[in-house]
Symmetry: C2
Subunit: 302 residues, 2 copies
């Protein structure tokens, strides 16, 4: 069982009230694949520039991450900078330099074309669609989207959504995409566009799963020390799809467990700068946090 | 088992995108007592003006609400007007006329002085303290507070908090009262001020219970049709303390069930204007929604 994951690898500059980090390896696909690799094999398709050196590459080393599909292109790596407010509840983008990501045209290595789960990371929906078209067999297509594509390429996004089984989306993006403020109505409208399943993340406010007419809602793990929220949503997606990849059936109980593993990976991500916490996790810590979430959300029948 | 409940009864004018209601019976204590009366007997201490007629009083009739402690004073009833934004996520206060509530000095009828649970509704903390002082025996003191008192009478609020066992508070108020943004840290700081237990409501984002070092977190019931959020937090408090009043023990399992009943009553409140939905509830509907919340938040161990 494996995940084919396509999206952005970047060099990030992050400022929070607790410190600053410059040119650290980031990008949504980096967080996704680190988180997913605790559960399954990840085949990575991405582009980096000439400035992405061996040391940067070490983030992926010694993990269940295959790098055959990582292309090195002439030019600089995608760079992003962001600064968080004093309580981490909002952030300003300092700069976005697409660089080699601007001309990225995902090409799947032959062995990647038979994928268990295809994960379309945040990028132009036409590129997302081109990935699906290159795959010859798959069980499931997952997608992450972003307000940028909802605003700038709505038609292309609609075309890509038709190929998607599970959409991972932020609650505000779900509202924007559907034109509905109420999350249940928003989910129902998006389910009409293609994906039968939606997992809506709400940051510190928890997450929801819409699976056909069934709904699952869970609160976030209440962290005492939050350091850097960058990549938390991508880590959620990695835990969610990574857990699903190793399960033969996508029944409701399995999907709900996947949401909890997503929540676990998102919460760990926030505990340190960039990918640091994800890099030094053990699977026992992951299981332990799952059980803590179970304990702190359980209540008895009446 | 009974609750002694003290606070405000008002005549509200409410505008939402779905309609408008003028001079309907409101006030935090009205919502609290309607919700609590589905679980226990409520002894109401409040003041109304000469304009609060028999028809207004009908809201409380035929319920487990004792009105012996409702004083009729010369002048007009407390009036409040509010208008909600298009998606109900924010509201503007149109007017606040304290009227007879300004000179309210709660006087407990003799039979009220032995109370199982004392609920101190949102009012000046010195009045809250005067209620506790009149009570001769009690099992538990619950309090609701509000940003107004955190800002204007912090010392009086601190004095009142020392008498409180369970504080029901909005998450933003918890942050304001403690000076901590992180909710776990905020709760720990407030627990140092007196109440061993905190129930923090977060509107559509769920609620949390802090009981000593134990934490419980639950998502809100995802409503499809929200009509009017006025009184939802007070209805939560009514369900929470009402359920507790009829339970001999305040163990963790009981407290968690009380949070769910709070959440149930808050969610019903939002489904119609003012108190309308609370007035026409059946206990079977309440149990049914409890079970729905159980179903939509349950997941299996790993």
């Amino acid at each position: 069982m494996s995940i084919l994951a396509v999206g952005s690898v970047a060099l990030d500059t992050i400022k929070t009230p607790f410190g600053e980090a410059r040119d650290i390896v980031g990008g949504s696909l980096t967080y996704f694949s680190l988180a997913a690799s605790y559960f399954t094999n990840v085949n990575l398709v991405a582009v980096v520039g000439e400035d992405f050196d061996e040391q940067h590459m070490q983030v992926f080393a010694g993990r269940r991450i295959d790098l055959q599909g990582v292309e090195r292109a002439p030019g600089k790596t995608f760079r992003w900078g962001g600064e968080y407010s004093y309580n981490l509840s909002s952030r300003a983008t300092l700069f976005t330099e697409l660089n080699v990501f601007e001309d990225f045209r995902p090409k799947l290595p032959e062995p990647y074309k038979q994928a268990d789960i295809v994960f379309l990371g945040n990028m132009h929906p036409t590129l997302q669609l081109s990935v699906v078209e290159q795959v010859t067999s798959r069980r499931l297509v997952g997608m992450d989207s972003m307000n940028l594509w909802i605003e700038t390429t709505p038609n292309e996004l609609r075309a890509a959504l038709k190929q998607v089984d599970i959409l991972k989306i932020d609650d505000s993006e779900a509202r924007q995409l559907s034109g509905e403020f109420n999350l249940r109505k928003a989910a129902a409208a998006i389910q009409e566009m293609g994906p039968q399943m939606l997992v809506a993340t709400r940051g510190a406010n928890g997450s929801m799963l819409f699976n056909g007419s069934s709904i699952f809602a869970v609160a976030s793990y209440p962290l005492e020390d939050e350091v850097d929220p960058t990549g938390a949503g991508d880590s959620f997606a990695g835990g969610f799809f990574g857990y699903l990849a190793q399960k033969p059936s996508l029944d409701e109980a399995t999907l709900r467990r996947a949401v909890i593993f997503g929540s676990v990976m998102g919460s760990f991500c926030v505990e340190d700068f960039g990918t640091r916490r994800l890099e030094r996790l053990s699977f026992n810590e992951i299981l332990d946090r799952y059980r803590r979430i179970k304990a702190l959300t359980s209540f008895e029948d009446v």
